[in-house]
Structures are given as structure tokens and as C-alpha cells.
Amino acid sequence: MTDQAKLQATVRERLGSRYSRRVRDAGGLPAIVYGHGETPLPIQVDAHSTIREFHKGHKLFQLEVEGVKADGEQYVLLKDLQYDHLGTNIVHCDFARVDLNERVETRVALHYIGDAKGLGSAGAIMMHPLEVLEIECLITNMPEHIDVDVSGMDVGDILHASDVKLPLDTMVLMTDPEAIIAQIVVQAEAEAEGEEAEVGATGAEPEVVGKKTDDDSHGDS
């Protein structure tokens, strides 16, 4: 189960893209804390350590905001990440205030364990259409990841979301049970060649939707 990492934060007094950019330049990460009927609080955290925690799979944090008096310990759940235009650098994150006794809906990453025996066949690859599962659980029971054993999978086998054994019985699967999380497919030779079947030859023109015949459209010319 997930342990609570600690986050040290300071309140952002000045808001807007210009000041957020200055925060990022100084090694900070702009963030917002909301929820539980309280006023949203714009904060900034240390970018390097926070993003490292995100990559470890941590989502639940014990938040200490400098200069803000909280009644007891404040816990927040990572709700959203914003990326830059290249989609790689995190530029902002959202935290929701949570109580340790409440149930939350969250996404948990899947870790695939074992070498599937079907991958020995020529051209066989394992596809993962879904790499996260949405579950509802008590916040203290939230797993960092769920291990899925794929060692028994052969060519053509499909693993659905309902096949995953959740760590605790109290957890409820919110993802569609029929959703595919892993399957082993063989790249057919037809597929490699087949792409060219859809391809138009050079110089060929596509059909124009709703185009009338030449006699109808240019009757007077």
C-alpha cells in the first residue's frame, strides 16, 4: 500500500502565467490544492523532488504549507498533471484535499511480471491497450501499482481488466471489466503488405464527396 510522502510547499502570492514561469525558472512547480469545500490554495513545491515522487508512483502526500495553519495533518491526493506543449515536462499539478478515512476513485498503474511464453513465436508482440486501472478504494489502501502475471499467456490470449486480482477485496474495479489490458498478437505478413492495399497510387485522385458529373456541373461551359 502507498506510504505518504511529505511535501513542503509555500503559498503563491502572485498568480498568472508570468509568475508561474518565474516559479519554474527558480526550480519550483506551481500547484493548486482544492476540495472539501474550502477555498482553493495556490502553492508551489520543489519541482525536482516532487516529480521524483510522482515517478515512484506516489499519489498521496502529507502536505505542509509554510505559513498556513492547518488543523492536524493535511493530506492531498494527486489529481491532475499539466504538461508543456511537447508533452514531456510537467508544468503544473492539481492536488485534492482528502481525509484518510474516505474512499476515492483513482488510477493505478499496471506492472506486467514474467515473460509470456507466447512471445517466443516469430512476430509475436504483446500489446497493452490499457496500462492503468481505475479502482475505488480506501485512500490508505491505495496501491502504487498492481502486478499482473503474464507468464502464462500464449499467442492469441487476451487478458481483461476483470482478470486482474486486486490486492484487497474491499477494492472495487471501476474500469470496464471487458477492457483489454494485455494481448499477444502475431504481426501477420498480410498486415505488413496490407497497408499498401489502402494506398492510392501516385497521381490517383480521391473521390470528391457529393461531386456531380462533369456534364451536370459545367453544363453551360
Partner: protein, 141 residues
Amino acid sequence: MPPYKIPKRVKHRKEFRRARDRKATKGNFVAFGEFGLQSLEQCWLKSNCIEAGRIAAQHYLKREGKLFIRVFPDKPVSKKPLETRMGKGKADIDYWAARVREGTVLFELAGVSEARAKEAMVRVAMKMPVRCRFIKRRLSV
């Protein structure tokens, strides 16, 4: 000459050039595979470049893994013939292109190791008319 992809049906035969200098707000992360090739510049990517990239990847990977092509050449680009006076209407279509913006993911790979994917993408990037970089699937919440 290898056949190139073009749309099967279009609403209009020719279209305006339109603005180009924008950043990608969608299609800018790895969505289907595990690794991807991302454009760092904008361009009109010709259909033959896409095909060249596909062939380069498949020759290297030898049908290992799965290649996803994330762009489709749906934009007709017209060009007047040489030594032609201006006017007399819009010229015939010269080629079909995909609108690529800064950040657009062009190709994705699944089912191969990172080292193999990187090598394959280097070969694909050589066929592209823009600067590209190798990216991995990003953190999702």
C-alpha cells in the same frame, strides 16, 4: 515507385494553405505504443516521407514490434508548373501532406526494447524533413 497514402474520399479537391506556425495541443504524446518520434518543428509532411519512414523502420525491425503511424496526409498541396504565368485558376495537386506541428508525434513503436526502438527511430528521423526526438510514454495520473 512505392504507392503513397492519400485519402479515399475528400469534401473538396483543393484547399487553402492556412496558418502553419502553431504548437501541437493534441497528438503530442505517446498514446498507443511505448516509444515515439516527436517532431520539434512544424512542416507539411509529404506522404512519401511518411512512407519512407515506415519502410526505414520496418527494414530495421524486420517485422519485430508494431509501428503506429500517427499522422495522415490529408492536405492537398497544389503547385503551378514551371514557366507558367500567374493566374488561370488554382493549379493541380502536386502532393498530399500531413500537417505537422511542433510537438506532433509522428510514429510510435510497441513490443520492442528501448534500445531497438531508439535505433529504429533514428533511422526514421533521417527520412523526416524536420528535427525530431525520441520520446517515451509519459506519466499518467
